[in-house]
Amino acid sequence: MSVTTLQPIRAFNRRRIVRDLPFLPLAILVPFVLIAVFANVIAPYDPTEPIPGAKIFEPPFWSSGGSVHTLLGTDFQSRDVLSRLIFGARVSLIVGVMGTIVAGSIGTTLGMLAGYIGGWVDQLIMRVTDAWLALPAIVFAIFLATMVGPSMWNIVIILGCVYWTRYARVIRGEVLSLREREFVKLAEIAGASRTRIIMRHILPNVMNSTMVLASLTIGVVIIAEASLSFLGVGVPPPEPAWGSMLADGRSMLMVGDWWLTIFPGLGILLVVLATQLFGDWLRIRLDPQQRNL
C-alpha cells in the first residue's frame, strides 16, 4: 500500500534531481569516463608503439610541420600523443576510482570500529591514523612506491593505504554520536550482535559522509598518481599515464615542444576540477547543513 502513496513524491524528487544536476562537472566527467572505457575503440593508434613513417616530436596538426594523421603531435618515440592521452585517461580513471574505493573501505571500516567499539581499539586505530597523517601523503606514497616497486595496481593499493586517514577520522566522529541514538540502543537491547549493528544500523548512516569524502578524494588520488608517475615510481613505461607523459615532455620543454606538456596537464586539470565541483554539489545535496558554508 505504501508503494502507491509514495509514487508522487518519488516522481517529484526525480524531476528535482534532474533539474539540480551539476551540468559543468558532468559535461567533463561523462566524456572522460566514456573515453577511458572505450579507449581501444576511440584511439587512432596503439599508444605504446611508434607510428610507422611518422617523425618524432611532430607538433599538433594546426602548427607548421604538423600532420592531420597525428592530431596532437607525436612524442620522443614518434608515438601518437592523442592516443596516449586517451589511454592515459583510462589509467587515471582506474587509479582514481579504485584508489578511492580502497581508501574509503579501509577508512570507513576502521572509523566505524574505532567509534563503535571504543576503548583500546579506538585508541590504537586513532594513534595509527595520527602516525600516518604525520607524513605528508606524497612523501609516504613515494616511500611505499619505492619499496613495493612500480605497477598500476600497486599504485592503487599504495594510494588507498595513504589516503584512508581522513575517512577514519570523520566516520569515527559520526559513529560516536550515532552510537548514542535510540535505534542503536534498541538494537543493542534486542540482542543484535556488534557485526549486525555495524552493518545494518551504523554503515547505512555513515555512507553519505563516505560518498562525499570519496568524491573529494578522487581528484587528490589522480594528482598523486600523476605525481608518482612523473617521478618514475608510478605507472611504469610504456604504459601511457598522464604523469609519465609530463615527465617525457619535460626534457623537450626547453626547445619549446609545448604540446607534450600542455595536453596531459589539461587532462589532469579538467578531470580534477570536475570531480571537485561534483563533490561540492554532492556535499550540498547530501548534507543540507553545509549549504551555507
Binding site: P136, G219, S227
Partner: protein, 306 residues
C-alpha cells in the same frame, strides 16, 4: 597545563613509535631488506656488514631495537651514495628547503589572505566568486604542472626567468609560486570561513553599532581574531612544504630535502629514502606537538576539554 603537555607528549611518542614501526615493517615486507640497504651489486662480505650494522641476522624485535637506536642516535643510517649519515645530509639541505618554503609561504599569504578576507566581507558578490574560483583552481591545477607551464612561458618563450637552480630572487619566483599555489588556496578557504565566523560574533556587531568605520571593524577587530587559525595552518604548511616539495624541487633543480629524497629513489639509496622519510615524520610530529601546546597555552578551554 602540565598534565596536558604530558599527555600530548605521550601521544607524540606513540605516534613516532607507530611511524617507525610502519617504516620498519614496510621495508621488511617487500623483500629482503639487505638487497635494499646494500649497494646494488655488493659482494657477499659487504652484505654481511650491512646485516650486522642493521642487525638483520637477529630476530625481528632485536632488529627493531637496532632500527630505533639508529634513529635516536641521530644518524638514521648511512647513505651509501654520499657515504655520510642521512641526518647530516638532511640538515645540509634544510636551509635550501627553508628558503623555498618561506618564499612559497609568502606567496600563499599574498594570494590567500586578501582574497579570503574580501570573499568573507562581500559574501556571494563577484569578489567572492573570484575567491571561490581561485580556491577551486588551487586544488585542481597540479603545482608541478603549473611549474612546467611557467618554465615554458617565462623561461622558454619570454626568456624572463632562469629555468632552474638556486641563486637570486629570479630563481626563486617560479618554484615558490608552483609550491605556494596549493597552499594559497587552502589559506584562502580557511581565511574566508574563519572571517565569516568572526564577523557573525557579538563583539563585531557591537563594534559596528558603536559606529566604527567598516575598515576599522574588519582590520582591527575581525581580522586579528580570524588570524589565529590561519597562522597555525601556515606554520604547519611550512613544515609540510619543507619536506614534501619533492616534484617542485626536481623540476626546478632546487637542492632541497625533496630532491634529496628523489636522488635516493633513483640511486636505489634505500637508507637515504628511509631516513629522509623518518626525519620528515619526526619533524612534523614535533611541530604538531608544539602547536598543540601553544594553543592550549593561549586558550585554556582546549586543555580542559581534551
Amino acid at each position: 597545563m602540565g598534565q596536558f603537555i604530558f599527555r600530548r607528549t605521550l601521544y607524540a611518542i606513540a605516534t613516532l613509535f607507530i611511524l617507525s614501526l610502519t617504516i620498519f615493517t614496510v621495508v621488511r615486507l617487500t623483500g629482503d631488506p639487505v638487497t635494499l640497504m646494500a649497494e646494488p651489486g655488493a659482494q657477499e662480505a659487504d652484505l654481511e656488514l650491512v646485516r650486522a650494522e642493521w642487525g638483520l641476522n637477529q630476530p625481528l624485535p632485536v632488529q627493531y631495537a637496532a632500527f630505533v637506536k639508529n634513529i635516536i642516535t641521530g644518524k638514521l643510517g648511512q647513505s651509501f651514495n654520499y657515504e655520510m649519515p642521512v641526518s647530516t645530509l638532511y640538515f645540509q639541505r634544510l636551509p635550501n628547503s627553508l628558503e623555498l618554503a618561506l618564499a612559497a609561504t609568502l606567496i600563499s599569504f599574498v594570494i590567500g589572505i586578501p582574497a579570503g578576507i574580501i570573499s568573507a566581507v562581500r559574501v556571494n558578490s563577484a569578489w567572492d566568486h573570484v575567491g571561490k574560483t581561485i580556491a577551486l583552481l588551487g586544488l585542481s591545477v597540479p603545482g608541478f604542472w603549473l611549474g612546467l607551464v611557467m618554465i615554458l612561458v617565462f623561461s622558454v618563450w619570454l626568456e624572463w626567468l632562469p629555468t632552474s637552480g638556486q641563486g637570486g630572487w629570479r630563481n626563486l619566483v617560479m618554484p615558490a609560486v608552483a609550491l605556494g599555489w596549493y597552499f594559497a588556496a587552502s589559506l584562502l578557504r580557511l581565511t574566508r570561513s574563519s572571517m565569516l565566523e568572526v564577523l557573525r560574533s557579538e563583539y563585531i556587531k557591537l563594534a559596528r553599532l558603536k559606529g566604527l568605520p567598516a575598515f576599522a571593524v574588519i582590520a582591527l577587530h575581525a581580522f586579528k581574531n580570524a588570524l589565529i587559525p590561519v597562522l597555525t595552518l601556515a606554520g604547519i604548511n611550512l613544515v609540510v612544504m619543507l619536506n614534501a616539495a619533492v616534484i617542485i624541487e626536481v623540476i626546478f633543480a632546487w637542492p632541497g630535502i625533496g630532491r634529496l629524497l628523489y636522488e635516493g629513489i633513483f640511486q636505489r639509496d634505500f637508507p637515504l629514502v628511509q631516513g629522509v622519510v623518518m626525519e620528515a615524520g619526526i619533524m612534523i610530529v614535533l611541530i604538531n606537538l608544539l602547536v598543540d601546546v601553544l594553543y592550549a597555552y593561549i586558550d585554556p578551554r582546549i586543555r580542559l576539554t581534551r
